[in-house]
């Protein structure tokens, strides 16, 4: 009997320890390394940064990279731009995603499954190719311009590619499912009697929406917004393919700093600051999910 108890204990330990060790090695330690390197200086060597401890074993760290990030306007502006662009894209996603999620949740049971499937389907198709699809649409000689020219609405192509508009379109297009799905989950769960009760007590349909449906869908709104905002902040592909050279976003700056300038310490510092910026939305998201899970039980 004692043997079996030990064996069961062993199984539990294995089940915990294996993923635990994996995550420690491949998730936590890498962050410590980023932090470490962000405190080093770049050198032309392999690897291209100074060791944390010099030959004498003394600690050699510097805050130069962070000082540089704060003083150089380019970085401050890029961080700010990223926040603003990700924020606007999030609001656009919400404006389009909320009525969609609402419509799906109120559709008939049989059609609902299909409508949801159609939301999820693009998510399974390559992200990169979906962004690419818009390149063909928004080109100066792309489908949209050709159609408008042909219709006589415009005489010369509108510049859409390599502008912020293209970036917004790309962001909304790519992240819309992340907005619709959590919203749908809350709306679908919502007791429709509540809306009817409000109408019964004298609220019109519109009023009942703002008094009842909207406040009660807050968990879905928060989750959806955070799920769009966070990845949009670090987005690399969309600004690279659709945005202009001057429409810098922080994800792209990080990528270029690392691959083009080979300044590993500065890239690490950029990553650390980005992560600090994202701590707030990530905490909001996790609190929201915990509260939502609690309310659901």
């Amino acid at each position: 009997m004692a043997g079996s108890v030990n064996r069961d204990n062993l199984w539990q330990r294995v089940a915990i320890a294996t993923p635990y060790l994996w995550l420690l090695l491949f998730f936590l330690i890498p962050f410590i390394i980023i932090l470490k390197i962000s405190l080093a200086d770049p050198v032309i060597a392999q690897p291209p940064f100074t060791p944390t401890f010099d030959e004498q074993g003394a600690l050699s760290i510097s805050l130069d990279n962070f000082r540089f990030l704060l003083t150089d306007d380019l970085y401050a502006i890029t961080y700010l731009r990223s926040v603003v662009i990700a924020g606007i894209a999030t609001l656009l996603c919400l404006a389009l995603g909320f009525p969609m999620a609402y419509g799906i949740s109120r559709a008939r049971e049989q059609t609902r499954g299909l409508l949801l499937l159609l939301i999820v389907l693009p998510f399974w198709i390559s992200f990169l190719l979906r962004v690419y699809a818009w390149m063909g649409l928004m080109n100066n000689h792309g489908v949209i311009n050709n159609t408008l020219l042909w219709l006589g609405v415009i005489d010369a192509p509108i510049q859409m590619m390599y502008t912020d508009i293209a970036v917004f379109v790309g962001l909304v297009y790519s992240y819309l499912p992340f907005m619709v799905l959590p919203l749908y989950a809350t709306l679908e769960r919502m007791d429709l009697d509540l809306v009817e009760a409000a109408q019964d007590l004298g609220a019109t349909r519109t009023r009942a929406f703002w008094d009842v449906t909207w406040p009660l869908s807050r968990p879905g709104v928060v989750a959806g917004c955070m799920l769009v905002f966070i990845p949009a902040m670090g987005e690399y592909v969309i600004p690279y393919l659709l945005g202009g050279p001057e429409s810098l976003l922080i994800g792209r700056v990080l990528f270029d700093e690392f691959f083009v300038n080979r300044d590993w310490p500065l890239a690490s510092a950029v990553a650390v600051v980005l992560l600090l910026l994202l701590v707030v939305p990530i905490v909001i998201l996790q609190r929201n999910q915990a509260r939502d899970a609690e309310a659901a039980t």
Partner: protein
Amino acid sequence: MRKTSRFTTSVLAFGYAFLYIPLLLVVVYSFNDSRIATVWGGFSTRWYGALWQNDQVLDAALLSFRVAFTAASMATVLGTMAGLALARFRRFRGRTLFSGMITSPLVMPEVITGLSLLLLFVSLQQLTGWPGQRGFSTITIAHTTFAMAYVAIIVQSRLAAMDESLEEAAMDLGGRPLRVVFDITLPLIAPAMIAGWLLAFTLSLDDLVIASFVSGPGSSTLPMYIFSKVKLGVSPDINALATLIIAIVTIGVLIAWLATRRTRSA
């Protein structure tokens, strides 16, 4: 009274058009004979033939599938263990850190995950000599790490929704915990594991940014190949490749959907 308003219906229609028209156009233009991708030059399937001849595409696709298959399988094993640990083992040392590490990869920007893992591999190489070359193994490890988080969450929520009394009943009837896991728990969470595996597989196939960081020279995944072409603008063979992917995914998802619908209604 529980009908949707005209406003909602029109936004819904607009939203779906927004989602699908770009994809549809890619499909249409993949049959375009013209080399200039935006000018219609008649119907042709020549770009599909060209794809077949393109060794770079085939190599990249092969690498992507090998990585995706391995990473999805490893992520399913690790993620299932993690999901079980979170849902069923209430208390153990370091639980908070553990659940934090499970959920964080879900919200981590790809550039940061990619950068941090590359820096890890570089440091490891300095210390131990491994990995001598970055490629299949490093990409697989990176993909396993972020995909296992998704599997863990799916398995955990399935377990949370599941009645624990089933397992307790099995133990009550004399099953030892490990047996119970294999006899009762695993069969019950099998759908979640399959869903997790499929999601992990797709995420891995889809990833560009992390793979760009952790792969070495000479090994490109399919997204990396596509990106290198797409950077230069719209090109007809990429249209053909995209169409193939869209077709495969759509057929796969539809089959899966019809199958689950059948089993649910049966």
